[in-house]
């Protein structure tokens, strides 16, 4: 296996782990953490392709990841603020118990 494939495989593993974290844990904070892990795995993917792809001097993947990190930060902040608001509202962050928006 080429090193690119190895990196990609690793990223896939972390992605799966993040997905598992997001859908199996009860705590809302951990769902968010899972999302962050998935984002990070995607970033790794980008960087791997940047490094082993053509024209690394164009810095395309690099800057993509940079923006991704910035956005992930903003999103994490907002997500956590939301969790705080929900917690104030219903005194729980157990997402099984937050189901008012059902059909």
């Amino acid at each position: 296996m080429t090193s690119l494939a190895l990196y990609l495989l690793l990223a896939a593993m972390i992605f799966a782990a993040g997905l598992a974290l997001a859908v199996t844990r009860r705590n809302a904070i951990l769902v968010l953490a899972g999302v962050e892990l998935m984002l990070n795995a995607a970033n790794l993917n980008f960087l791997a392709f940047w490094r082993f792809g053509p024209h690394p001097e164009a810095l395309t993947g690099f800057l993509f990841v940079m923006f991704s990190i910035a956005i992930a930060a903003a999103e994490a902040a907002i997500g956590l603020a939301l969790i705080l608001a929900v917690f104030r509202q219903s005194r729980t962050i157990n997402i099984d118990q937050i189901e008012q928006l059902k059909g």
């Binding site: 090193s3 896939a12 810095l59 990841v65 956005i71 099984d96």
Partner: protein, 170 residues
Amino acid sequence: MTLSFLIPAIILLIGAAAANVLRNLVHCVLALTLTFAGFALLYLGLGAEFLGLVQLLVYVGAIAILIVFTVLLTGGGVQGERHVLSPRWFQGFVLSVLVFLLLGYGITKSSFTTHAATSVDSYPVSLIGDRLMTNYSLPLEILGVLLTAATIGGVVLAIREPRQQTKESE
């Protein structure tokens, strides 16, 4: 399979597995932080030094702290929860396994035309800055707006409503 790949990989995997399994919320968060650090190491290994340090600064230094704050503010993790996993956790586990298998299949079956891992060229920060200011100036500005909005939004969401004592005091 060089060492500079292997060590951060192991750290990553351990951290991710731990985050999934551990009972205590704070322990999970710490495992997460470890994972972020592992990523940073990998970025450094890939020749993206700037990004590796940015990863450390932002993820480890800010996001992880935020998560910890939130954990503390929501009063969680003080005692171990009885049921960590949601009732139908198996469905999610199966799903993630499936996704991994599929992705793995795709990766292994694809043929990548890769360039030889050239010597790790260092790209000076000035180059990054130059790119940001010319080709990617628009995304930069948008990002600025986004961050502003996120800041404001975060404050609005998190602020406590002032209690209404009497109507005259409005």
